[in-house]
């Protein structure tokens, strides 16, 4: 156990000692035999964004419910500003995973109801409600029913409801699941602002690129806290480096290097991305040489090799692996061979247009997906992704344009074509009131999995989902992440050679997500054509090719590195003494999207050359009494590029979210 143990009385960054905002000591929660939380201890300072990360079932939600005062602890204490959490409910705002909004009430009614429950004077509810709605650019929608809002807007409304009573502590339990990257970035900007005003935030998220924006993080596993520290501390504590390797044949390189990989070997982990391999190694210099020789010896080119710090996701997965949690499952019992199809055009769409009444949901989308390829379709909510997928798999007829599926362009809904297609929709329809086994039997039957293969296939799905022995559990009782795994398994049981996955990993923890992608890559290696959508751009890097949609149009297409290299400008990372003030200042100078905060770090996308940009910005900040601790050129993340593309399209009059 590696704990950077915090002092009982902590110093904030102004050097004043004060009481911790959240103080949890030896907290335990037991449900019958199951011990969900086992004696955790943590302190969160006033004005801090503190992240709680961990796999499904780590005890995060239980911790949140105890801190929100809606559940009793079995033992230990959970205090907020020195008093028991339950007594401090008037000072706490709690966002549940499902947002706890009333879908049949309007935005304004939801705000009023939650304000009234806390006895906020009516005029304050109206004033502050409006103020926050304006902040989120949602005041136009005050009379819309909450049930008709997009995921991102629901999340913002829930936040408004929680903020109107002016809480001192905000508890956010996976607030960004199902929320698109643009909304998510806005959300984080707001959070950063709020902490600057003194609000304390405790947040859980399964997405670790997002967790990097927290000031400090606690890594939770099986009800215990294993590690607490800043994202940088956590990443360096692993004592490893990350090597990005680009080579012509990723599949071959991966399978070769995997044999040399293990928690106690020199290469800790190998992860395959769309156009590169990420290796987690103990000694970067030694491994560089060794790798070059090894690959050359196998006749593989080394196109590029880069050393970088491990990401939080690397760290997380490596830690879990070291704890013996394996993402490996029994081998997929493949009965069909699609490898002869490799390279053929599986999905071919030309100039697809879909109009709903006067609204054009999709305009002139042309794309091709070949067998053996993983194609990622990205876009904000309402950009037309789901409509496009429905047209691509033949569920919806386009208004105009041509579609070809698996070599046929006639009847796309014929049984022969449908047999070759797999589709996992956003809210995959497993039957909640059937057991897992009954669901799998049903889908195996519907998809026409041959009788003699069924047993084996179902066994594989259970092993893939980590649910062996639990097959008679009622599906509805599973946490979302697990259901998603069963749904994914069910969608590929019949070994389709064209697979559509609409947000397959939403709410799935990193290790399971890794298993998803290993499987997706394996299916693609076997000759299947796969289309995936996701809101998480770190994950999108695992696709071979990406398409980005804005307002119904495909605005960018290419490999992950290709898209990143097309982005103009440079990314500069500053570390300053007052990051929020610095961000506000820079935002007032330039377009808002060019500036974003990641915990203590400030990212700026500048059009000038890096040296000039650093010089000018530093001068600007120093003139305003801000001290720059360090500045360097960083590399664009896919998310930076995506946001930039969306934001640059916005001024051209294209609505980003359709409501």
């Amino acid at each position: 156990m590696i704990t950077t143990s915090p002092a009982r009385i902590v110093e904030d960054h102004h050097g004043i000692t004060e009481q911790p905002a959240i103080d949890v000591r030896g907290l335990s929660k037991r449900y019958g035999k199951l011990e969900a939380v086992r004696g955790i201890t943590l302190e969160v300072r006033r004005g801090e964004i503190f992240g709680l990360i961990g796999p499904d079932g780590a005890g995060k939600t239980s911790t949140f419910q105890i801190l929100a005062g809606v559940m009793e602890a079995t033992s230990g204490s959970a205090n907020i500003f020195g008093r028991a959490a339950r007594e401090m409910r008037s000072q706490t705002g709690y966002l549940t995973q499902t947002f706890s909004l009333y879908p049949d009430l309007t935005v304004a009614e939801n705000i009023r109801y939650s304000g009234n429950l806390r006895r906020i004077p009516p005029h304050e509810i109206t004033e502050r409600g409006l103020q926050y709605l304006q902040l989120f650019d949602m005041d136009r929608f005050a009379d819309r029913l909450a049930g008709q809002l997009s995921g991102g807007m629901k999340q913002k409304l829930a936040l408004v409801c929680a903020l109107v009573p002016q809480p001192r502590v905000l508890l956010l339990d996976e607030p960004t699941t199902g929320v698109d990257p643009v909304s998510r970035r806005e959300f984080w900007d707001v959070l950063a602002h709020l902490t600057e005003e003194g609000l304390t935030i405790l947040l859980a998220t399964p997405y670790l690129d997002e967790a990097e924006r927290c000031h400090r993080i606690a890594f939770m596993y099986q009800g215990e806290i294993l590690q607490i520290g800043t994202p940088t501390e956590l990443c360096t504590s692993l004592g490893a480096k990350r090597i990005e390797l680009r080579t012509a044949d990723l599949r071959k390189a991966e399978s070769m290097l995997s044999r040399e990989t293990g928690p106690d070997k020199d290469i800790i982990d190998v992860q395959r991305f769309g156009d590169r391999l990420d290796l987690l190694v103990r000694d970067a210099d030694k491994e560089r040489k060794w790798l070059t020789e090894k690959l050359k010896g196998a006749g593989l080119s080394v196109d590029e090799m880069r050393v970088d710090e491990p990401t939080l996701e690397n760290t997380f997965v490596a830690r879990l692996r070291a704890l013996g949690r394996k993402a490996d499952t029994i081998e997929f019992p493949a009965k069909k061979d699609h490898s002869s199809l490799r390279g053929q055009v599986a999905v071919g769409a030309a100039n697809l247009v879909k109009e709903f009444g006067t609204f054009t949901a999709v305009r002139n989308v042309s794309l091709q997906i070949r067998n053996g390829e993983v194609y990622g379709l990205l876009g904000a909510n309402g950009a037309g992704k789901t409509t496009t997928i429905r047209m691509l798999c033949g569920l919806l007829d386009p208004t105009s344009g041509t579609m070809e599926l698996g070599g046929t362009s006639g009847n796309l809904r014929s049984e022969a074509v449908r047999k070759r297609i797999g589709y996992m929709s956003q809210k995959f329809s497993l039957y909640d009131d059937l057991t897992i086994r009954e669901n799998l039997d049903f889908f195996a039957g519907v998809y026409g999995v041959p009788e003699e293969e069924r047993e084996e296939k179902i066994r594989w799905v259970l092993s893939f989902s980590g649910l062996q022995g639990k097959q008679d559990q009622i599906t509805g009782s599973l946490p979302g992440g697990w259901k998603q795994r069963v749904a994914f398994g069910a969608a590929i049981m019949h070994e389709p050679d064209i697979l559509f996955l609409d947000e397959p990993t939403s709410g799935v923890d990193p290790l399971a997500r890794r298993a998803f992608w290993t499987m997706i890559n394996r299916l693609a290696d076997g000759g299947a054509a796969i289309l995936v959508t996701t809101h998480y751009l770190e994950e999108a890097e695992q696709c071979n090719r990406l398409g980005m949609m804005v307002a119904g149009e495909l605005v960018a297409e290419g490999t992950p590195s290709g898209i990143k290299s097309q982005q103009s400008g440079h990314l500069i990372e500053f570390i300053v003494d007052q990051p929020q003030r610095a961000a506000d200042l820079l935002k007032s100078d330039t377009e808002r999207w060019r500036v974003s905060l990641f915990g203590e770090r400030l990212h700026l996308i500048a059009e000038q050359d890096p040296a000039t940009a650093i010089q000018q910005t530093t001068k600007r900040l120093e003139e305003n009494g801000l001290h720059v601790i360090s500045a360097r050129e960083g590399r664009f993340s896919l998310e930076d590029v995506f946001i930039a593309i969306v934001e640059q399209t916005r001024p051209q009059g294209k609505p980003v979210t359709q409501n």
Partner: protein, 368 residues
């Protein structure tokens, strides 16, 4: 107080927002009232009767005429070559009257002149009515034949009270009114409460410091309002289409109605609080609100007819007491002296439901 109002207001907004719910709340009770009280009629008339006359005399024709004059029975023709049993088996007739030959001769001689009446007794109630009616007709016929001279020593002079026209509409109308009130408001209340659990919105309520009493009262008040609105709509119908009016002091029924609205709203809320699942809560309300009140409250069958083993259940069926109060107000007019106890009991049962709901919610915490 403010939180109670906020809670009630939120519930009412949700009800009004969804037109289906609103229809369920207001239109269905009216439909139920019209359908059941018009369709549900236990007075029988125009029951088909087949007559096989093997005599064909003046006397036999006289007897048949007496049957023809009955409201309850309706003489239909039947081919002579078919047997009487066939008429019953094919449902062409509910009863068959067989007049043997020599009937006229025996009458004239003044000896016993038997006729046979075969009654389809698969429906026991109707069979009783038919045989009773038939014996009345024959004894009246006897008297007439005897010249109207001989009268029995005892003569009952019957006068029908409270519902002189024996209109079943007036009897069932109030009953169905009570049934509708016992069913729809608690159904809505239970669904609304279970939904909070299902959609996890209850967490938001728990996070605020609203006490269980205020939360429950707010909900109950909203569904009381629904119940009272239903009551108003249905009363209009009772006073117009059903031709009913207050028979005496209306205060007991007014107070009982408010208490009853509380009782049913608390019942639904309690079910929803205990069973946080809409489908299951719906069934629980269907059993409690509909089955019990329909079968064990004296709505159709008099409570006295319920077998003793089950009769005790009827003592806790809240609808039973309210039916007595409503019928008293609209038919008998006994006022407070007649129904004070029933009003009290409704209040007690309502408080019981509220107590149970509160017990389930008192911690305002996630059950674990």
């Amino acid at each position: 107080m403010r939180r109670i109002v906020a809670q009630a207001r939120k519930e009412l907004t949700q009800i009004v927002r969804d037109w289906r719910t609103l229809a369920l709340a207001l239109a269905l009770p009216v439909a139920l009232l019209l359908l059941l009280s018009v369709g549900l009629s236990l007075t029988v008339n125009e029951l088909p009767l087949v007559v096989q006359d093997f005599d064909g005399s003046t006397a036999s024709n006289g007897l048949i005429d007496a049957f023809r004059a009955s409201i309850t029975l309706h003489v239909v023709s039947w081919p002579v070559d078919k047997t009487a049993e066939e008429a019953l088996a094919s449902n062409a007739a509910r009863a068959v009257l067989i007049i043997p030959s020599h009937f006229g001769r025996d009458m004239a001689r003044g000896v016993n002149a038997p006729v046979q009446l075969m009654v389809d007794a698969s429906d026991a109630n109707t069979a009783k009515l038919v045989s009773g009616d038939a014996s009345q007709i024959t004894s009246a016929y006897n008297q007439r034949m005897a010249g109207g001279m001989q009268t029995g020593p005892v003569q009952a002079a019957i006068r029908l009270w409270f519902n002189p026209g024996l209109s079943s509409k007036k009897f069932y109308g109030p009953g169905i009114f009570v049934l509708a009130l016992s069913m729809f408001p608690p159904l809505l209340a239970a669904l609304a409460m279970a939904k909070e659990g299902e959609q996890k919105t209850i967490l938001q309520v728990y996070v605020s410091s609203i006490p269980a009493h205020e939360f429950l009262l707010g909900k109950i008040i909203a569904f009381m309002a629904v119940a009272l609105a239903e009551c108003l709509v249905m009363s209009l119908l009772l006073f117009t289409y059903f031709g009913l009016s207050f028979a005496g002091d209306p205060t007991p029924v007014v107070i009982a109605t408010i208490l009853y609205a509380f009782c049913v709203a608390a019942f639904g809320t309690m079910i929803g609080a205990i069973i946080p699942n809409q489908a299951a809560a719906l069934q629980a309300v269907a059993v409690g609100g509909f089955l019990l009140v329909f079968l064990l409250s004296g709505l159709i069958f008099p409570v006295e007819n319920i077998p003793e083993g089950l009769r005790w259940i009827s003592y806790i069926v809240w609808g039973r007491y309210y039916i007595e109060i409503v019928r008293d107000a609209l038919l008998q007019g006994g006022g407070w002296p007649a129904v004070w106890f029933q009003v009290l009991i409704i209040g007690v049962i309502g408080a019981g439901f509220y107590g149970l709901a509160w017990h389930g919610m008192r911690k305002m915490q996630v059950k674990a």
